[in-house]
Amino acid sequence: MELALFLIFGLLAVAAALNLLLQRHPINSALSLVVVMMSLAVLYWSLGAEFLAAAQVIVYSGAIMVLFVFVIMLLNAGEEERTTGSRIAYIAGFPGAAAIFCLLTFVFLTERQALGGVGIGGYLDTATNNIAAISTVLFTKLLLPFEVTSVLILVAILGAVVLARKEQ
């Protein structure tokens, strides 16, 4: 049952990521990225992180992807032309990515027993506990970093306004 849930949404995420890679039009890539993020939200929930699942839907597939789609439509981005790409990418990039993937998969599969498993169930009862526990840590131990992020967001907003403004 849990494995079925994981397989459905994991395969959906991988298929959408491959679709992002293969689509030529940016808007199709953006919509496949939304699918990846929604399936990741389900996987977060299955890992017992309800707050992050909600935040993933609201922040990532809500705010950030809307911003992306908005910019794509604003700039009227058409289909990208396919060029050869740089030689370094083919010599070092793709073998490097494949090597990272193979190494990580090998390590995770050999350490499979030590890593343990995930059982689903009883999370809805502890959903409030998850949020309460996160907020307790966030507002006591990590209060300063939390406040600093608000300054970071403010600076980012100002930077975005200054950069996107029409030059006089």
Binding site: A17, A30, L67, L75, F101, V118, T149
Partner: protein, 100 residues
């Protein structure tokens, strides 16, 4: 019972696809989206390890990554708009002002 290793392997797949998209794509916006895909893959790893250790630190890390990603997306897209305004293109092959 799903092994945590499967979640981590899924994150590795998504990260590798993100790296591949970053290298193949020629549109600035799509390249930026593949960076977001890589960030999401790393977030999944954080959450999986947080579940494995029964600790909240990983989840809080993901929270901060989300905040920084939101700020980064706003600034990055503003830069893309500024580039498009001056160069009239989104193709990275033609954005080579610093090369010459």
């Amino acid at each position: 019972m799903v092994p945590i290793a499967y979640y981590l392997i899924l994150a590795a797949i998504l990260f590798s696809v993100g790296v591949g998209a970053f290298l193949i794509k020629r549109n600035v916006i799509t390249i930026f989206m593949s960076i977001e895909l890589m960030l999401n893959a790393v977030n999944l790893t954080f959450v999986a390890f947080a579940h494995m250790w029964h600790q909240l630190n990983g989840q809080i890390f993901v929270f901060f990554v989300m905040v920084v990603a939101a700020a980064e997306a706003a600034v990055g897209l503003a830069i893309i708009i500024a580039i498009f305004r001056t160069r009239e293109t989104l193709n990275v092959d033609q954005i080579n002002l610093m090369q010459s």
